[in-house]
């Protein structure tokens, strides 16, 4: 047998090798796996969303019911009526006192309505011109560009007529 025919024979046999039986079935089986896992993960995601939504809805729905349960609880009947001042014993000291809740014993007087006392405002809240003419005016304050005539300036002779 010549060299070339031997090469041809080897290549022919190499290129016509038969695959093991059931190759297509195994490939198809392998292709099913990603699709199944995808569908399972989708189902899981949808069910997780449904559970989360259910929990949220039930929490909203049960909240007033829970509140009413608290109000109808026998222990809740002894609670002071709304309007009476709550008296809480001051912290006795010790560890954690600084971060404890401090409730004033006497009622705190209500401050008068605060007025705008920022920059460029009087104590009553009115806008005032700053001392320096070069200083920028606060927003919303209008001022004439030319100085107004004062009474101390004597009138010109022509103006008397």
């Amino acid at each position: 047998m010549s060299i070339h025919s031997e090469i041809d024979e080897t290549l022919r046999r190499l290129g016509s090798v038969e695959p093991p039986s059931g190759l297509e079935r195994r490939v198809n089986l392998r292709l099913q796996i990603p699709r199944k896992s995808f569908s399972i993960s989708m189902i899981q995601a949808v069910s997780a969303c449904a559970v989360a939504a259910g929990v949220a809805l039930s929490a909203v729905a049960l909240n007033p019911a829970l509140r009413s349960l608290v109000h109808h609880h026998p222990a809740a009947q002894s609670m002071p009526v709304a309007g009476t001042p709550r008296v809480i014993a001051p912290a006795a000291g010790g560890f954690g006192t600084a971060s404890a809740v401090h409730v004033p014993v006497e009622p705190v007087p209500v401050q008068p309505t605060p007025v705008n006392q920022g920059r460029g405002r009087s104590r009553s809240g009115r806008a005032v011109l700053p001392n320096g003419t070069r200083a920028p005016l606060p927003r919303g304050v209008a001022a004439p560009h030319t100085p107004l005539p004062t009474a101390e300036v004597p009138p010109t002779p022509d103006a008397t007529h």
Binding site: G15, S16, P19, L23, N28
Partner: protein, 177 residues
Amino acid sequence: MAKPEQDTHAQVTALVEEYSTTLYRVAYSVTRNSADAEDVVQETFLRVLRHRNKLAEVRDYRVWLVRIAWNLVLDRKRRAKTRPQADDFEDLARILPAGDLSAEKMVITAQRHARILRLIETLPAREREVLLLSAVKELSTVEIALILKTTESTIRSRLYRARHALAALLEQEGTLP
């Protein structure tokens, strides 16, 4: 909603039925190992499934699939850095002629094939690749040119050079047993 997905899957299943053997032969020509060749076939179709949105654009499925399998098998070979298992008798027996050969003749034939396959591995990469693809009986020269993204005349000249180089190597080693 699920109908296009089912259609695509049916299309891929049809491709598996039609082209698995060709892809197996392409992969086997490089790996010379049955399990590795089957892995390449499976990986090829997984890639197809991953890029199923491109299925409508494909003109020639055979060329497209063989190109995917070819790239996968070359990549696998590059990573493995190992020679094909040409001396594995169990796999080598797959390319032996079937029939009523005596045990002695079987051994001689296996040695011849193993020797030629070993020498093919020593050829330059471009010539070796063309030679191996030309061995796959389903592939024409035009298709090999499309798979390797070159011209048909280039394929023919590489094939000519490969065959002559292989013959020269065999002559150098001595006469065939």
